[in-house]
């Protein structure tokens, strides 16, 4: 077996050194009743060529985004990732290192995480960010838990414009952590009076910007109302590239930002791994979940980095920790940091403009189609269309013609007939003129 260096002769020598006759002697503590003869019922070892053949066969059954006109978003976006990103994250010193608990051997990881924290704070307009969480949805649930701790309250208000998966994760955590949710019905791009739901038990109001239907709103007033009531405003961002064009949550008075960072540096990956971003204000830093990298000096007075404020964390505090999180999304955070470093100020703004331009062009073309209505007043790179017929069969029909047209909202809410005609369409910088032409033509035909 190519990954196992011990030879039969090594094994014999080592058993002799240990003073046992066979490997079975080292398993003597396993109860006899639990011991089995022979091998488990699975195939035997395979060489690289054979394994690769099997995976190619599975991969060939899927339709990759890059092979077709592609307009699917819903919190996961297809962007062009510069070649340098994947090259650098595959350096073994990054790929095959552990969590940086030994700072003298991990200054590389620690420095990029410090850079990552800085980038996330800058993008969101917040004061401080952590070293990543699993994904946007779990970051959102952690934001609610943190708001509960910081305010010593136990009720969160969720906007109807929040991504349904994010809402579902919050509901799961709420059930078991024992807090209450006041969740609004899924909105169809209209405004909601969230302030009406705030009471003396409300720890936070959770909104998404742009929301699940793509609408962009100013939450400054809501932030003020939250603060007057002693509650926090949590702003979720599922498309981080939007912050190259849209006013950041920090400038609207957000207290916590929970975001998905997949768009920078990371592939679609069928939904994971992605990277959760988490930012807040300095005054809440000791309530934060997850790892934090801090600047310090070494014994020679030189600047260096360490994991810090770990008294919040499970390996020190055990059942009193702010979160049970341990492993997070280190390498995905690295990909994010490298991609954003390559973009820089100019490139990031340009990327955002290209996304917005592609979406505006797509919307203009599709809203002209008979019976099709653009729901949004505003949007960044994703918007909702109301079709004259249910959206799911249309998406399926277009997929049959090699066009991935978007997401029928009914996929999230099959029980809500009033949402069945809604289609979410995302267009990023990867959408070409030809893609948009084919989407328009395909949709026109499918609607006849």
């Amino acid at each position: 077996m190519r990954y196992l260096p011990l030879t039969p002769a090594d094994r014999q020598q080592m058993l002799a050194a240990i003073g046992v006759g066979s490997i079975d002697a080292l398993y003597a503590d396993v109860p006899a009743a639990a011991c089995r003869d022979g091998l488990v019922e699975l195939p035997l070892a395979m060489g690289e060529m054979e394994v690769e053949r099997r995976f190619l066969s599975m991969a060939a059954k899927n339709v990759p985004a890059g092979a077709v006109p592609f307009f699917v978003g819903g919190g996961v976006y297809r962007h062009h990732v510069p070649a340098a990103v994947d090259h650098l994250i595959q350096r073994g010193e990054f790929l095959t290192s552990y969590t940086p608990y030994q700072p003298e051997l991990a200054q590389g990881t620690l420095q990029y995480l410090f850079e990552f924290q800085t980038q996330v704070a800058l993008l969101t307009g917040m004061e401080v960010a952590n070293a990543s969480l699993y994904d946007g949805a779990t970051a959102c649930a952690e934001a609610v838990l943190m708001a509960n701790r910081a305010t010593r309250r136990d009720k969160a208000v969720l906007s109807g414009g929040l991504h349904p998966h994010y809402r579902s994760v919050c509901e799961t955590y709420a059930r078991f952590a024992g807090f209450e949710l006041a969740a609004r019905d899924p909105a169809r791009g209209g405004g909601e009076d969230l302030a009406r739901s705030i009471d003396e038990r409300t720890s936070c109001v959770v909104v998404q910007n742009p929301d699940f239907y793509g609408e962009i709103r100013d939450y400054s007033e809501l932030a003020e109302m939250c603060h007057r009531a002693g509650a926090l405003l949590v702003v979720v961002v599922t498309e981080i590239v939007s912050l190259g064009a849209v006013r950041p949550p920090g400038a609207m008075g957000a207290d916590i930002v929970a975001a998905e960072g997949q768009s920078l540096g990371n592939a679609l990956n069928f939904g994971g791994p992605h990277v959760g971003l988490f930012a807040t204000r300095d005054k809440f830093v000791r309530q934060m979940p997850g790892r934090l990298v801090g600047q310090t000096a070494d014994a020679e007075g030189r600047r260096g980095w360490v994991l810090t404020l770990s008294t919040r964390e499970q390996h020190i505090r055990r059942e009193k920790a702010t979160s049970n999180i341990c492993t997070n999304a280190g390498l995905c955070a690295l990909a994010f940091t490298i991609h954003l470093a390559l973009l820089g100020e100019e490139g990031f703004a340009r990327l955002a403009q290209l996304n917005h331009a592609a979406a505006v062009a797509t919307a203009q073309r599709l809203e002209r189609l008979p019976g099709v209505q653009l729901v949004n007043q505003s949007f960044f790179n994703e918007f909702a269309l109301r079709l004259p017929v249910p959206a799911a069969p249309i998406v399926e029909a277009l997929a049959g013609r090699g066009i991935l047209a978007g997401i029928p909202v009914s996929r999230f809410h099959p029980e809500r007939a009033e949402l069945a005609d809604l289609l979410l369409v995302a267009a990023t910088e990867t959408a070409t003129e030809d893609d948009i032409d084919r989407l328009e033509a395909g949709l026109r035909e499918a609607l006849i």
Binding site: G47, S97, D135, A245, A321
Partner: protein
């Protein structure tokens, strides 16, 4: 040399015997590297993107007003920056990484290649299910392998890491108890458990009670039985435990837990010791998370991403979180809502369908090894740990006598009266070119040193490592405390001030206010 290190040098005083002894502050291959933000060249950019054709903005008047503040760098600068950073890291690729209960084994590159196939990486979780049958097949195949290896009939795949898998397992247990009308309030966790176990139990609304270890480093069965009662929801046990020992009374433990009407949760962090050889179901385990980034070699990546599928007994399976991949009338189906057979399913624990990129790598690893190779993995891991144990028997002090599983626990008795601590000893190991073992964990012995070599180390590698440890122990006992306290000396940074970092946290870069140079 950047401004920061210049300032520090000025403060330390020129010619300080402690300071860097080169003009640049570099030490040959160890090159000082400023932050990205300190290399800003306005107008520079590492990408070439076209200008959009003019269009009417539809941002609703909510344009970003201020610049973000990102630095501008070109591609060569960025490649050099991250290459230099990478050279300040230790990694499995560079050497033995003996972190106990972390299973730092070789990460095969085939797995990286396969995870990047466009048909697996460039697919969207919300594109029509009809366009991703290969993805469902892969998930189902991985689930099948995990079910056979654990002997348990179901597996929840969405958890994003080990601790997330624990959350999934304990939530599932609570849901199953509630479905039979029981509200139990306590979870029992051995003292030697990883910190995530009590943190998870608390996060799910349970009171946590510690179970002491006996003098053999195993769960004290009598103490466990005394704590069991009708209000106990589960026992969370790591097996083999974090002392590197198999819980020899595990069948009695399981029987006692089940007799109390509780569930038996196993932390699968140490599955590597028994994979392919012992099935957790045969040990009476109801629920076990599996760290794909440990046993099945998906890269740790400097702290993630991980993946923590949870294998479930039949009594727990109906409550597994969404989504499910099931065999339906027309082949594999993706169940995204709590309906039909999934009517009792927990909601979601994570967005979308789990860590697909990690599933690809783990399945490639499993298929490469096969049933025979996986069993050999466990046996070689145990053999390597025991070989180190006997090689170190005279120099270090083993905490619990006798053979171990895939990791071996020592404590600091061998450092008694030397003035050298476990931490000093570990830092000296760094200068010898090794990543330290897990230190001060588990908490059940004093100054713990937990060594897990894994099966991917050769005998020669173990011999060399053992020789270094024996020599360091000799030096410590020969009165070398001063040198140990000064270690490490050859790393890019010496020991770092962790207390200072926590007292005045600096968690991000900020632009320096313009200051007059003191030398002018």
């Amino acid at each position: 040399m950047n401004e920061w290190s210049q300032a520090l040098r000025a403060r330390a005083g020129a010619g300080s015997p402690q300071g860097p002894d080169t003009y640049s502050g570099n030490r040959a291959l160890q090159i000082e590297e400023p932050l990205l933000f300190e290399q800003d060249g306005p107008g520079r950019c590492g990408v070439d993107l076209p200008e959009p054709t003019p269009f009417r903005s539809r941002l609703g008047g909510l344009e970003r007003g201020e610049p973000v503040g990102l630095p501008g760098l070109s591609e060569p600068q960025i490649v050099r920056h991250f290459t230099r950073l990478s050279q300040k890291n230790y990694a499995i690729d560079s050497g033995l990484y003996p972190l106990g209960s972390c299973t730092m084994k070789h990460n095969p590159r085939l797995n990286e290649k396969l995870a990047r196939l466009p048909g697996l990486a460039d697919i969207h979780p919300l594109q029509p299910v009809s366009t991703v049958p290969g993805a469902l097949e892969l998930i189902d195949t991985l689930a099948h392998w995990l079910k056979v290896l654990t002997g348990l009939p179901a597996v929840a795949l969405s958890p994003a890491a080990g601790a997330h898998g624990e959350l999934c397992g304990i939530m599932t247990i609570r849901a199953a108890l509630e479905a039979r009308g029981e509200r139990r309030s306590r979870i029992l966790v051995p003292e030697s458990a990883h910190g995530t176990n009590p943190a998870t139990a608390a996060a799910c609304g349970y009171a946590v009670e510690a179970i002491p270890a006996n003098e053999r480093g195993r769960v004290d069965l009598a103490a466990l039985q005394a704590k069991l009662g009708p209000d106990v929801a589960a026992l969370m046990l790591t097996n083999p435990n974090t002392c590197g020992l198999f819980e020899s009374e595990i069948l009695d433990i399981a029987a006692a837990v089940h007799a109390a009407g509780a569930f038996f949760y196993c932390d699968g962090a140490n599955f590597n010791a028994i994979v392919g050889r012992v099935r957790p179901a045969d040990l009476g385990i109801d629920c076990m998370h599996i760290n794909l980034h440990k046993t099945f070699s998906t890269p740790h990546g400097g702290g993630g991403p991980g993946s923590g599928p949870v294998a479930l007994a039949a009594a727990l399976a109906p409550f597994a979180p969404l989504p499910w991949v099931v065999h339906g009338e027309n082949g594999l189906e993706l169940v995204e809502h709590a309906e039909g057979a999934a009517g009792q399913a927990l909601g979601r624990l994570k967005g979308y369908h789990g860590q697909m990129g990690m599933f690809v790598r783990a399945l490639a690893y499993m298929m490469s090894h096969g049933a025979d190779g996986l069993k050999q993995v466990a046996e070689d891991a145990v053999l390597n740990a025991n070989y180190l144990r006997v090689r170190l028997a005279d120099a270090l002090t083993q905490s619990f006598p006798g053979s171990c599983m895939h990791e071996v626990l020592f404590d600091d008795r061998f450092l008694k009266d030397t003035g050298v601590t476990t931490l000093d000893f570990a830092k000296a190991l760094i200068d010898e070119g090794y990543h330290p073992m897990t230190m001060y964990f588990p908490l059940v012995v004093h100054g713990a040193l937990l060594i897990e070599p894994t099966e991917t180390e050769s005998k020669e590698s173990l011999d060399q490592f053992a020789a270094v440890l024996v020599e360091l122990a000799r030096q410590a006992q020969a009165g070398g405390a001063e040198a140990f306290r000064a270690a490490p000396r050859f790393t890019p940074r010496r020991r770092l001030d962790e207390t200072g970092a926590a007292r005045k946290p600096v968690l991000r870069w900020r632009p320096e206010p313009v200051q007059r140079n003191a030398a002018e």
